[in-house]
Amino acid sequence: MKRKDRIAGILALAVGTALLASGCASGGDSSSDGDVAMTFWQNSTTGEGKAYWEKTVADFEAANPTVTITMQSIQNEEMDGKLQTALNSGDAPDIFMARGGGKLADVVAAGQAMDITDSIDSATKAAVPEGVLSAFEVDGKIYGMPTAVLPGGIFYSKDLFAAAGIDAVPTTIDELNTAVDKLKAADIAPIAVGAKDAWPAAHWYYFFALRACSQATMTAAAQSMTFDDPCWLTASEQMEEFVKTEPFNAGFLTTSAQQGAGSSAGLLANHKAAMELMGAWDPGVIASLTPDQKPLPDLGWFSFPEMSDGAGSAGAMMGGVDGFTCSAQAPKKECTDFLNFIVQKDQQEGYANAFHTLPANTDAQGVVTDPALQSILTAYGDAPYVTVWLDTLFGQNVGNALNTGVVDLLAGKAGAADIISAVNAAAAKG
């Protein structure tokens, strides 16, 4: 009767609780007989990128016969969610993609990332600049190995610029506005932006903030998670002004960044739009979306325009650093060996070629031939400082709120001040 059902119910609850309690500690993947198996998550699901990783894994396994690595390719936009769930349940992959900043800090705070400060070999230290390694630094210790430096700026189609009668790349915001007008007159979509994924739209705000705020202000904001300095609002207002000139492609709110010919990268690849504000991964993405799947021959790059009287230094750059982190439960020696392996010159040269991007290893940067990338390299070398993307810097919670706030502004749904209130509100939720 009722009692039997109650008892059954309670038993089920008890069993469940017991299982959960006992299962909270999870073991690592290495077995004790010498053979080591590791799992590896990266975000290249197709083409040369995926092929590069498959070869790299095979090469490492050949050099280390006792190690087997199982690789998982996860679409970029799904990576955060899946990684989050895996880390949360203690079932993390041994090697996973990481970008540093606040996101990494959260993982470190939960004890899920391995400290590799002492395991970085000398070859790596010689070839990878301190500043790049420091992107993965939390509280003075290094928690990941960078594989690519991805500074941002505006990629553009030289052919389309010529068709619209633009002779020189814009260096100030007024010149950019002029260029936008000329492109519109020539019936070309001036700027493609993949606002569906939010972060591409937000990048416009990040750069306005980079110009308006000093480096010290930005670092302080990352620590305190408050955005009271007036420079944040100034950046917001400047962006609002810019957006009012309607420089973006039609339907930009539902344009994705990298998926398919209709994405912002696809628009550039097919000469349907003239410019895109992106990081140094873009040549590679565009190459996969061109009709012949080869790099776009007329792709150029110029630095984000300077604003007059901003607190940011001239020539400052913002960029991401892609890399990989070892999970705290991974087998230390094998995992750090892998990290050191992938950052060697040969591997990094292969990486640069496969992804059409800038490797972190400075010795490998010699293979970069793409003119757009070479422009970036030059600017990167001249930059007084490089910050990480703001959403990476601020961590997932505030970063997401920032991104969504910017999209709202682009859609005309919110004003300049609302971005600031959105990020302040988000800080309270997590």
Binding site: M1, L19, S26, N88, A261
Partner: protein, 278 residues
């Protein structure tokens, strides 16, 4: 005068016209997906709503010859069939208890299951993930099947309980007079009588399981274990460049569910009609 027994008479043209319009609206998007698979990307970009010219078979052929596709169909089938059987068997047993036994906790038990309707999978996914992991069922089809059975029980029970309630007491009394126990009554009389309800809930459970996306997304990490919706999404993002390919894959993955429904459609309506006609 209505109500003749003719089964094959034609309806009025107006009825057919309205039905035709409605069906056209229903199938239009589906046809877009199916036909889109016969084009290639340049056709789609140039003329989004046009017909294939020329018709290209390679997208469909690529999908049909890819072992991943069939593997995913296999996984989806195993999961959906097992879930359906589990939901139906467990659901029928509990519904029988709720419908025909009298005991004090009955209202509470019914409410317990009904409350399950209120919770979508998105809510429970994180703790559920941890539980599945602790049971060692990660990346296994069982890790998907068991929660799906659980989440499928509320709808099944809500549908079956009134159904079973409606079996008149006389049948039960007659059975008990004939010496059959309650359980015997269950197996020999209730089960056959409840077939129409079982078919309905079975179909709902099968379709829900077949189309389920979120749970497999988090439980199945190995590509070889993927079910079809996961495969569609993975394919769509992996080959997102290739819209035509995506459309081909998508339309092929619709087919198994459609076949299943077509096979059983007669039984649903047939079962319900049969109960009235005798």
């Amino acid at each position: 005068m209505r109500g003749t027994r003719e089964r094959q008479k034609w309806g009025s043209p107006a009825t057919y016209f309205i039905a035709f319009v409605f069906i056209a609206l229903c199938l239009g998007p589906v046809l877009y997906i199916v036909i889109g698979g016969f084009r290639d990307n340049s056709q789609i970009t140039a003329s989004p709503a046009g017909f294939p010219s020329p018709w290209r078979l390679d997208n469909y052929l690529n999908v049909l010859t890819s072992p991943t596709f069939w593997q995913q169909i296999g996984n989806s089938t195993i999961v959906a069939l097992t879930t359906t059987i589990g939901v139906v068997v467990l659901g029928l047993m509990v519904s029988f208890v709720l419908a025909r036994y009298k005991f004090t906790g009955r209202g509470a038990m019914y409410s317990l299951f009904a409350a399950g309707l209120m919770f979508p999978m998105t809510v429970a996914i994180t703790p559920l993930y941890i539980l599945i992991k602790d049971l060692g069922l990660m990346n296994s089809l069982a890790g998907v099947i068991l929660p799906q059975i659980g989440f499928g029980l509320p709808v099944t029970i809500i549908i079956l309980v009134p159904f079973l309630k409606a079996i008149p007491d006389e049948i039960e009394e007659a059975a008990s007079i004939d010496g059959a126990s309650r359980l015997g009554f269950f197996f020999r009389m209730v089960v056959p009588l409840s077939v129409p309800g079982v078919v309905t809930t079975g179909i709902l459970a099968f379709v829900a399981s077949w189309n389920s996306y979120l749970l497999p997304l988090f439980i199945l990490s190995d590509q070889s274990m993927y079910t079809l919706p996961l495969g569609v999404q993975a394919f769509a993002s992996q080959y997102s460049v290739n819209t035509a390919s995506v459309l081909a894959f998508t339309s092929l993955s619709m087919i198994p569910a459609l076949i299943f429904f077509t096979l059983f459609e007669r039984r649903i309506v047939g079962g319900l009609t049969g109960a009235v006609k005798g």
